[in-house]
């Protein structure tokens, strides 16, 4: 035990420190599991970079990776809550399919004809209708699970078939193209990115937020005279956070539009072309779906850790009987979790439909498995009671990195599936070992 570190934890009178800082990591209050995942991600990235001859860690690939991850990452945040309460949702891929189809049909057949092309109301109503449809589908499944007592596995397995069938039925198996250009921005692409200046503004806001949250937490603890983290640890945490945000912004801003698109963009926005005829550098910046995913991640983390609902979700996962005896309406909470999952699947549908600019009835096939895998790789325990939103999103990024890395290496699809399957099992095995050790 390090005496130095112990001495640094200043104990205000009346409340001695509850944990002595034994090392650098514990003084920083770092989540060791999360760090482990970041290291795994770094290994995967660097490994693919070397194997692919330097094409993985390029702005272009990383930007695409971030866009490809967005839909699964959004859904994984909801899957965490589902799995934490010892449930499972096998229907998310099909719910994504049917809500995507509903949104495309509503937009193409009703909204655009009513309001005209690219009316701002169109994308808002499309998204709103999709989210409500998703929440209702999830709510119905949740009702059957919570109030009628049918196991979640069975209900959502049924849902997997029902909603896939419904997706086919809504459009009689046709592929429905989207008509609204504003809605397509949700999916990313050259237009669906915010550009350099906005990216820097978002970066600045994010950095300010990190600093504020840390400062606020410290102020609260000071107010009640609780033991504090050493100052140097606070500064390191904030510093690392800000560095990560700035680095990400630099990456997305160094991915520039291809020359043809850049010229069109410049003409459309009245930007003068360079006189010497050299290529115009117009950065993409953050993609809209990525910003949506990050926003959802922050929102869901807030819900999970700062609200009563989130507290109940974890309490139910830890001990359903105790939650019931504490007077929590566990059935209502369970139903709400599934409704929320449905709404998030609809948001995932908006992202993936907008990215493909059309809805197909096979859309989202197998997404339930990727979503569950992302949550589980991200440290959500299938036994219930444990899991974090950030971990699940990182899990989604790990999965997507593996897949897109293997595509870069030109591996065959069957081999890709074999690798992803094996990685999932190994990740859960490592997690089991880790949990046994800390107990």
């Amino acid at each position: 035990m390090s005496d130095q570190a112990t001495a640094r934890v200043g104990a205000p009178s009346g409340s001695p420190p509850q944990a002595k800082a034994t090392s650098f990591l514990s003084a920083m209050e770092v989540d060791v599991r999360f760090m482990g995942m970041l290291c795994a991600l770094a290994v995967i990235w660097i490994g693919f970079h070397i194997l692919s001859g330097g094409t993985f860690l390029t702005p272009r690939n990383l930007w695409n990776l971030s866009v490809q991850t967005a839909s699964i990452a959004v859904m994984a945040t909801g899957m965490v809550l589902v799995i934490v309460t010892r449930n499972i949702d096998l229907s998310v891929g099909s719910v994504l399919g049917v809500t995507g189809m509903i949104m495309a049909v509503v937009q193409a057949d009703y909204l655009t004809p009513t309001f005209g092309f690219d009316n701002p109301l169109v994308w808002m109503l499309t998204l709103g209708i999709g989210l409500i449809a998703g929440a209702m589908i999830g709510g119905v499944q949740g009702y059957v699970i919570a109030y009628m007592g049918v196991p979640a596995f069975i209900v959502t397995l049924g849902g997997l078939l029902v909603w896939r069938g419904a997706a086919w039925w809504v459009a009689s198996g046709k592929t429905i193209p989207l008509t609204d250009n504003n809605f397509k921005l949700i999916g990313g692409g050259a237009e669906g990115a915010v550009g350099a200046s906005w990216s820097w503004i978002i970066c600045a806001v994010a950095c300010a937020l990190i600093a504020f949250v840390t400062w606020n937490a410290r102020r609260q603890r000071t107010r009640f005279r609780f033991p504090l983290k050493p100052l140097w640890a606070e500064f390191t945490t904030v510093g690392v956070g800000i560095a990560a945000v700035v680095a990400a912004t630099l990456v997305v801003n160094s991915y520039v539009l291809p020359p043809v698109l850049a010229r069109r963009y410049a003409e459309a926005n009245g930007i003068p072309l360079p006189a010497d005829g050299s290529a115009l550098a117009i950065p993409f910046g953050y993609a809209v779906p990525v910003l949506i995913a990050i926003g959802i991640g922050i929102l869901m983390t807030f819900v999970a850790t700062r609200t009563r609902f989130g507290r109940y979700v974890f309490a139910i996962g830890g001990n359903p009987e105790a939650a019931e005896l504490a007077g929590i309406n566990t059935r209502r909470v369970t139903m709400m979790i599934f409704a929320l999952m449905g709404a998030l699947a609809a948001l995932g549908a908006a992202i993936s439909t907008a990215r493909l600019t059309s809805a197909t009835n096979a859309q989202g096939s197998l997404d339930e498995l990727y979503t569950i895998a992302a949550a589980v790789i991200g440290g959500t325990s299938l036994a219930g009671g444990a899991g974090t939103i950030a971990g699940a999103m990182l899990g989604a990024l790990v999965m997507q990195s593996l897949q897109s890395g293997m595509v870069l290496l030109g591996m065959d699809t069957p081999l890709q599936n074999i690798v992803v399957g094996i990685v999932l099992v190994i990740a859960v095995w490592l997690d089991t070992m880790y949990r046994k050790r800390i107990r």
């Binding site: 409340s15 001695p16 509850q18 944990a19 609260q220 603890r221 107010r223 009640f224 609780f226 807030f302 850790t305 700062r306 609200t307 009563r308 507290r311 974890f314 309490a315 139910i316 996962g317 830890g318 001990n319 009987e321 105790a322 939650a323 019931e324 005896l325 504490a326 007077g327 929590i328 009671g385 444990a386």
Partner: protein
């Protein structure tokens, strides 16, 4: 010692409940006065825990009624029971293992900030205060309760019951997981709570404990009440006879579950 006159703090009258045809509690009547400790005794499966779970709102009685301070109380859920000031320390402790002490203490009754978010800091402060009283050496405020020892977990469960100004406290085997020193601490706490005018139902296997702490005992056997008695009016052996044989001694009020004299004679004959 509390005088049993006037309105009881709580009265459970003629309570019955059955599970799949088995009468777990069969027409049992018990009462509790302010500042009084009533020990509920009986074998495993005698129906003690079921009876108190009806009072704490976990089960709904098939027949019978509950009166709190003379008023008929409608208790359909744990939340209702808590609204009447009835707090319970369950034998299983009923803690959510994966969250910390403060989250367990305030489970279902979280403190909120003006913005409607969880006020974790205020909850931790309150937890530090109440735990400081119960278990001054407790330090693990940030750890999930599964990382705590049996005694520490027990003190979290007790803290949860006493923090919200309970009027009626149900303790189901409160010392089961405790060492001798902690058991003595709980005994002190019970005396302290008694002085505050709180009524306590104490369920315990340990006859000595009950005789030390309780003013009265009610004994159950096979779901029926054998009888009730002041601890000063009966001996420990007589209470043991009530528990094992269902034999109601002269110092006790007879209940429907008591063995009749004829049956008793038959038992004595066999022996």
């Amino acid at each position: 010692m509390a005088q049993n006159t006037g309105t009881p703090l709580v009265e459970m009258r003629d309570i019955s409940i059955s599970f799949g045809g088995i009468k777990a509690v069969d027409h049992v009547t018990v009462d509790l006065f302010p500042g009084e400790v009533v020990g509920l005794l009986g074998h495993n499966g005698a129906g003690k825990s079921t009876l108190i779970k009806i009072l704490s709102g976990a089960y709904k009685a098939d027949t019978g009624s509950i009166f709190v301070r003379g008023q008929k109380a409608d208790i359909a859920s744990p939340r209702d029971a808590k609204a009447y000031g009835i707090e319970t320390i369950y034998q299983t402790l009923a803690l959510a293992d994966n969250v910390d002490a403060a989250a367990n203490l305030f489970l279902g009754r979280e403190l909120l900030t003006p913005w409607g978010t969880l006020d974790d800091v205020a909850m931790e402060a309150a937890t530090r205060q109440v735990m400081g009283r119960l278990n001054p050496n407790f330090r693990k405020f940030k750890e999930p309760v599964k990382a705590l020892s049996g005694g520490q977990r027990q003190s979290v469960a007790i803290a949860r019951a006493i923090h919200f100004n309970a009027k009626i406290l149900i303790m189901d085997e409160p010392t089961a997981a405790l060492g001798p020193q902690e058991t003595a601490q709980v005994g002190e706490l019970i005396k302290q709570l008694k002085d505050d005018g709180i009524g306590i139902f104490l369920i315990s296997h340990d006859l000595h404990d009950v005789f030390d702490l309780a003013d009265r005992v009610s004994v159950m056997k096979n779901g029926k009440l054998v009888g009730s008695a002041r601890t000063t009016d009966v001996s420990q052996d007589e209470v043991l006879g009530m528990i094992i044989l269902g034999k109601c001694p002269p110092g006790a009020t007879r209940g429907p579950g008591a063995i009749s004299d004829a049956e008793l004679a038959a038992v004595a004959h066999h022996a």
